[in-house]
Amino acid sequence: MAEQLSRELCQTVAGEVLRQRDWRLAYVGLGISECLEAGFVSEVFQEAQHKQREASRIQSLRQLVERAVITCYCRRLYQACRAHRTLRQQRAWQELSAYLLAAACWKMPDDPAQAQECAQQALLSLWRRFSDPQWNLERPGALLRYAETALLREVWRMWKEQGKRWEKEKPLEGPEQEEQGDRETDERLASGEALPDAERETLRGEADQRVVAAIRVCLRSERQATVIIETFLNDRSVLEIAEQLGTSPENVLVLRSRAIQRLRPCPELLETLSDVLSD
């Protein structure tokens, strides 16, 4: 039987998420007891219900509750970060620093010293903002996203100073992987999986159909065509397309960039777009 959203599930998942990360601000007495604050579980339950109502992308119930736990915890973390001269403030900054350090070490695996330096600078930049009593975070539930943004800025700044092109850092999907991906996509199309339905659902009118046909003529890669069609004509996000193609968001961007380069000199598309848009 499928799992239902319940307070019990929220309590279980909250315990797991908080223990895994050693986050203690939602425990009575900052983790001296093993007892989660009752108000926290209620908050997670409400947040999970809200996320369930609002979500448009399919995800497991557990994932949904995990994200609700993180959102609710971020609100506490933010309040605690600003709770001047208290134990909670000290604990909050310890947790934030551990989070930033872990993210930095993942981002810069070959250089722990630089990772530490970037995490430290990101932490200080957050402190400078948080210690201003006039300043408020637009959405405290997204605190970790702000922290990650601050960290990435430091990483990019450091790479820029070293003359490193950060856009090219990660290994990109090469032609061989792209061909393999195309074969997999073709198989999924042949077996009637999601792609054609998703397209049929949202493509509007003859103009769109003509442009889609021209895109397919110009691009030999089905994956590149899918990325362009889904991005521009169906207005889907990178993460949705990545899940649809079974690849990473980064590769979606690579596929898009290559597709644009191949589409630009293609006379069929230029002619079709010119025709369609001048009607």
Partner: protein
């Protein structure tokens, strides 16, 4: 290459504004991307400021294209902002799903910037 980009720019120029509501606005963005048209710097700044919330909602499964159309559409046509967005998205996804472990470090960060505890507090940690 410049001539081809110019040909796409000409399509945009010839269309003028306002655009017909019958046209899928995505086609215009596609032409913009093919023309390599840069948006004003203020668009990049606004996008950068919105990214934390955009990404937070995206990993939560929300329809970000509908909720934040300006940000989404800017990301469609601005390669530098799109690259920054994808890096944040990837990091957020891995961190939220617990694939990057947050563990106690042997050499933690320096927290000496924090003010001292108010009198009477006892550190339990």
């Amino acid at each position: 290459m410049t001539n081809l980009a110019d040909a796409y720019r000409k399509i945009l120029d010839d269309m003028g504004q306002p655009y017909s509501s019958q046209i899928n606005a995505g086609l215009l963005r596609l032409v913009q991307a093919l023309a390599g048209e840069e948006e004003p710097g203020s668009c990049c700044q606004a996008c950068e400021e919105s990214l934390p919330i955009f990404v937070d909602d995206e990993v939560a499964g929300l329809d970000v294209a509908r909720q934040y159309p300006d940000v989404k559409h800017h990301l469609d046509v601005c390669p530098p902002c799109a690259a920054a967005y994808v890096q944040l998205l990837q990091l957020a996804w891995l961190m939220d799903s617990g694939q990057i472990a947050v563990v106690k470090s042997a050499s933690p960060l320096n927290l000496s910037f924090l003010p001292e505890l108010a009198g009477g507090d006892v550190c339990h940690d």
